[in-house]
Symmetry: C2
Subunit: 230 residues, 2 copies
Amino acid sequence: MTDVDVKQKVLAANAAAAASLREDFGRAATLVVNLISSPGSGKTTLLEKTALALKDTLRLGGLEGDIATERDADRLRRTGIPARQILTGGSCHLDARQVARALAEEGTRLANLDVLLIENVGNLICPTGYDLGEDFKIVLLSVAEGDDKPFKYPAIFAKAAVTVVTKIDLLPYVPFDLAAVREQVASLAPEGRILELSATTGAGMQAWLSLLTDALARKRAAVCAAEGVS
Amino acid sequence: MTDVDVKQKVLAANAAAAASLREDFGRAATLVVNLISSPGSGKTTLLEKTALALKDTLRLGGLEGDIATERDADRLRRTGIPARQILTGGSCHLDARQVARALAEEGTRLANLDVLLIENVGNLICPTGYDLGEDFKIVLLSVAEGDDKPFKYPAIFAKAAVTVVTKIDLLPYVPFDLAAVREQVASLAPEGRILELSATTGAGMQAWLSLLTDALARKRAAVCAAEGVS
């Protein structure tokens, strides 16, 4: 087998596991989002604030992908939602079988959720090709990272349904052309949405929370409609 | 062949190519550094400022690894040094054969340099295992990324001879515990050095430039001593 064959075999196995997860998530009407970004773009902080804002009205849970440390799952659990750390054993992305195994091992703690928040390994490249059964991918870009990133990492910005520009409270202190980022994202993902927020100050958070609750409402409606038909 | 076999074959081929590069760099007494970090930690900006500071006294050249765009090589060339973009075709790291091919194709433009600056693909994971024939690896961490990153990406912080904490001009605006980072780095790389700088304000730049010129002097002395012996 060549390395291309091996890669294709791995991706096919992942696709099968992802399809099975997607069926389960559909039956439970669980909205699943897959957050992808560089290390330090603010994925965990955004999820902490999301959990605090929504946990009293929705059943939330988190899966945290990392190379090492339980730190991010600990942070989510401290907000009061169930969360599990997945250590990838050196791999630069989560895969669907890791997600399935983690959910199975957590049992009822991560079952029948309204929203499952998956934080991928910090990396703009490797997670792009691995479907985790999610409803959509979300890519985060902190303003401190610079405004050239969508065109430098085009695959993930093209694939993500939502681009979230984070840490906008730092805009006065860094060179970052928001209009340039909007243009790059529009060209890579014409159907994609772009949000700008600061999880620290709360600016833009309402639009983000609405995006999640609206997507959940649409998913529930679609599940009901399908049940009505069948 | 299993995927583990394929990975081992790839790494063995890379090691052979890296050894050959290291011999060439030794003969030419070229100091070679391999810069690794998340996207947006400031690698290119640091190299631009390094080029501007040293290009009148030393022959510098750059190799820029990216998934897409010629942007970073363009930025280096604008400082007046020769630079070549290596587009990795989707791969999340440079490998030694790409470096060898790029140097061969550039011919005299990137030959007989005093310092070759290699900027790897933006990523704290994949570049760690690929030797490029460099004298040492340098990992960058921007203060905007947060102070938990060394323990979350331990392999690269353990392997890098130098950790450069960048964007310290943003310290007043972000939560970042420098002492915590120093402790993590000291535990992962007891022999490693840690520098803190802002390429924007120039703070800490002198120590960085001295680190490079001292390393170059040591390499030249070692090459002379070896020639004297043989």
